[in-house]
């Protein structure tokens, strides 16, 4: 059960909970070294795949948690918001995001962590991000048609592939474990050659 939707706490307490979750999120990002643009950029040169490992660990942890909480009845999965798919705009957005990530060495979350630890580049990325948001907002009337094009609605992997939820869970865990193994191998190869 999503606690807020079921009215376990009101809007005020929800903000406090969000603050606590935000602190924890930032803390673990920094602890895993993700506040460092140097480390993040290492991802694109295949010498440090920490980002991949951290992200995939988080995905696997959350996925197993959601699955088993849903299975035990503690969590109502149907109440979790699944974003809609818009193929073309999301492809273009992904490319812009990726280019920005490679140039800055930071993504939105890590830029905040980076800025909070006093790194100037983190602050610069945050300013750039807000500038981008402002520009997009101002030009939105021209972008709206594209923004809403190629809509595919809401779907999840089990629905798309037509297989059971559990099978997708296992598939992603196997993919992650193989990925971690492969990442270690790629890192040692790159660093040996360097």
């Amino acid at each position: 059960m999503p606690l807020f939707e079921y009215g376990f706490f009101g809007a005020g307490s929800a903000l406090l909970v969000a603050l606590a979750v935000g602190f924890a999120f930032g803390w673990f990002l920094e602890r895993s070294g993700m506040g460092s643009a140097n480390k993040l950029a290492g991802q694109f040169y295949l010498r440090d795949l920490t980002v991949f490992k951290v992200m995939f660990s988080a995905i696997v942890t959350a996925m197993l948690g959601v699955f088993w909480l849903g299975w035990s009845g503690a969590l109502d999965i149907s109440r979790i918001y699944v974003p809609e798919t818009f193929i073309a705009p999301q492809l273009v957005g992904g490319v812009i995001f990726g280019v920005g990530f490679a140039i800055a060495g930071l993504c939105p979350g890590t830029s905040c962590v980076s800025a909070a630890t006093g790194r100037i580049d983190g602050l610069a990325v945050i300013l750039g991000m807000f500038a981008g948001i402002l520009l997009t907002g101002l030009a939105f009337s021209r972008l709206a048609v594209f923004y809403e094009s190629t809509s595919r609605g809401v779907f999840t992997l089990p629905e798309l592939l037509g297989v059971s939820y559990g099978l997708v869970v296992l598939g992603i865990v196997v993919l992650a474990v193989a990925g971690f193994h492969g990442a270690g191998w790629i890192e040692s190869r790159t660093n040996r050659n360097a």
């Binding site: 696997v60 197993l64 959601v66 699955f67 088993w68 909480l69 849903g70 299975w71 009845g73 109502d76 999965i77 149907s78 109440r79 059971s164 939820y165 559990g166 099978l167 869970v169 296992l170 992603i172 865990v173 196997v174 992650a176 474990v177 971690f180």
Partner: protein, 195 residues
């Protein structure tokens, strides 16, 4: 070096846990509680109009008597009512719990309440959740008591074989069939409170 060794071991254990939980997920079934079900209103309306949504007390009694396979009889009333009287082989599942109760797709589910209204509503819920073989007892426990446990079996009925059958079913369930001769003509069938 020692640390690297230890962290590698931790990684291996975590990977094994993740793989274990992932493998179990394949056989665990759906993590979804389908409480936000959808219904095809037109289809259900057609079923209701053709009267394929309910069974009569006598039909249900025959099903129980002949040991119809995969039959689940579900009492949706409160536990006090269930304790004081319930149909043979009935289990109690409150309306609120219908969405999480585990039913098989091949099971024939018959819902009943005191009168029939709550069971009919439960019928809509279960149909919405995708169960096809769902029925409700039309007149509920009241009909069961009137038609099966205390039926008035009239010798004047044209179809006397039918009357005999009703009396036989009643006796099977320990009921007391009354002949119309012993009942005053203006006697109303036994009715109890409830909905």
């Amino acid at each position: 070096m020692r640390n690297a060794e230890r962290s590698r071991r931790v990684h291996r254990i975590l990977a094994a846990i993740a793989l274990g939980l992932g493998s179990l997920a394949v056989v665990a079934g759906s993590p979804r509680r389908e409480t936000n079900a959808r219904i095809d209103v037109e289809q259900l309306a057609r079923i209701v109009e053709s009267e394929d949504d309910h069974v009569t007390a006598l039909e249900l009694a025959e099903w129980i008597k002949e040991g119809r396979p995969n039959l689940r009889i579900v009492d949706v009333r409160d536990s006090a009512s269930y304790e004081s009287y319930h149909l043979p082989r009935a289990e109690r599942i409150a309306l609120r719990e219908l969405s999480t109760a585990r039913f098989g797709k091949s099971e024939t589910i018959v819902l009943y309440s005191d009168g029939g209204a709550h069971a009919a509503q439960g019928w809509v819920f279960l149909r919405a959740l995708g169960f096809e073989r769902v029925y409700f007892l039309r007149g509920g426990v009241l009909e069961w008591l009137d038609e099966v446990m205390n039926p008035v079996v009239s010798e004047a009925i044209a179809d006397s074989a039918k009357a005999d059958r009703a009396a036989e079913i009643s006796r099977y369930f320990g009921g007391v069939p009354r002949s119309s001769a012993s009942v005053p003509a203006d006697a109303t069938p036994v009715r109890r409170r409830g909905c």
